[in-house]
């Protein structure tokens, strides 16, 4: 199967690879996996006091499409509000990367990961307020 140019670009030059401090109050961590292919994806966001995502990092163990999907979504969420980030749909990622049907689940993983990261951040803030 041939990967699209954009997938290859993200795979060879992944953006925002790495980790943020998962215990920090301003960091939300999303951890999701797809057991069917054994992929596991960690996506983290750092949120400023205005509720804007300042930084995003990922670590993905999986195929090229999974790595490209997570790399792309970290680029997209930077500078976005939490609500905006949570509305990113896997279809947008799949379309941008021209993922073939068998790789659509990789973009689902990225969508679920960002949602989980936003939920984790909000849970932390709620906990602090309560």
């Amino acid at each position: 199967m041939a990967y699209s140019e954009r997938v290859v670009d993200h795979y060879e030059n992944p953006r925002n690879i790495g980790s943020l401090d998962k215990n920090a109050q301003d960091v939300g961590t999303g951890l999701v996996g797809a057991p069917a292919c054994g992929d596991v994806m960690k996506l983290q966001i750092k949120v400023n006091e205005h509720g804007i995502i300042e930084d995003a990092k990922f670590k993905t163990f999986g195929c090229g499409s999974a790595i490209a999907s997570s790399s792309l979504i970290t680029e997209w969420v930077k500078g976005k509000s939490l609500d905006e980030a949570a509305t990113i749909k896997n279809t947008q990622i799949a379309q941008h990367l021209a993922l073939p049907p068998v790789k659509i689940h990789c973009s689902v993983l990225a969508e679920d990961a960002i949602k989980a990261a936003v939920a984790d951040y909000r849970a932390k803030q709620g906990h602090k307020a309560g």
Partner: protein, 189 residues
């Protein structure tokens, strides 16, 4: 009567395979605990009866049926032989699949954190001995997992069986990854 009924009992010609589950196909009990030696015995027995070579001189239809039986028998054997595939299959048969058809991802944080940790350790281990340790660790976990699945099925706790099966799926993939690395040398700096 034999639910498989592979041969016509009046004229003895081979019939197309019936829609039976893999356990019935191989004539073993529909349960997680499987006697692997009995499974193999059953498999080889059926494989002999359906082997396409035996039908070389028969009609095109009979040859096609024997091939279908052969394929179905192989598929049943491969599914039941693997603890992970057997558990997944059994859970689906029992109407409680480990991962619902509409869900592609799991969010169990404890499971994923451990998987991530194992994958990171594997990524950072350049020397064969460290990799071997991780491989042994993963294998021991997979065996634990298989025992937990058996216990959960025996207790009728399908939710727990499903959870352990997802774990086993990850451990299987990890083992694949380790095997793949053993074959190709790690690229230099």
């Amino acid at each position: 009567m034999d639910a498989r009924a592979p041969f016509c009992h009046a004229c003895g010609t081979i019939q197309p395979p019936r829609a039976v589950d893999h356990f019935v196909r191989l004539g073993v009990k529909r349960q997680f605990d499987v006697d692997l030696r009995e499974l193999e015995r059953q498999y080889f027995g059926f494989q002999r009866r359906f082997h396409p070579d035996r039908f070389a001189t028969k009609s095109a239809e009979e040859r096609a049926f024997s091939l279908q039986h052969s394929t179905a028998t192989n598929e049943a054997f491969e599914t039941i032989r693997s603890p992970r595939r057997r558990a997944e299959y059994l859970l689906t048969l029992l109407g409680q699949p480990a991962l619902p058809a509409d869900a592609h991802t799991v969010g169990d944080p404890a499971l994923l954190a451990e998987v991530l940790q194992l994958r990171e350790a594997l990524d950072e281990s350049a020397e064969p001995r460290a990799m071997q340790r991780i491989a042994q660790d993963a294998l021991a976990r997979a065996e634990d997992c298989t025992r937990s699945i058996a216990a959960a099925f025996a207790a009728g706790n399908l939710a727990e069986a499903g959870k352990q099966t997802l774990w086993l799926a990850y451990l299987d993939k990890l083992a694949d990854e380790i095997r793949a690395r053993g074959r190709r040398p790690k690229p230099g700096p």
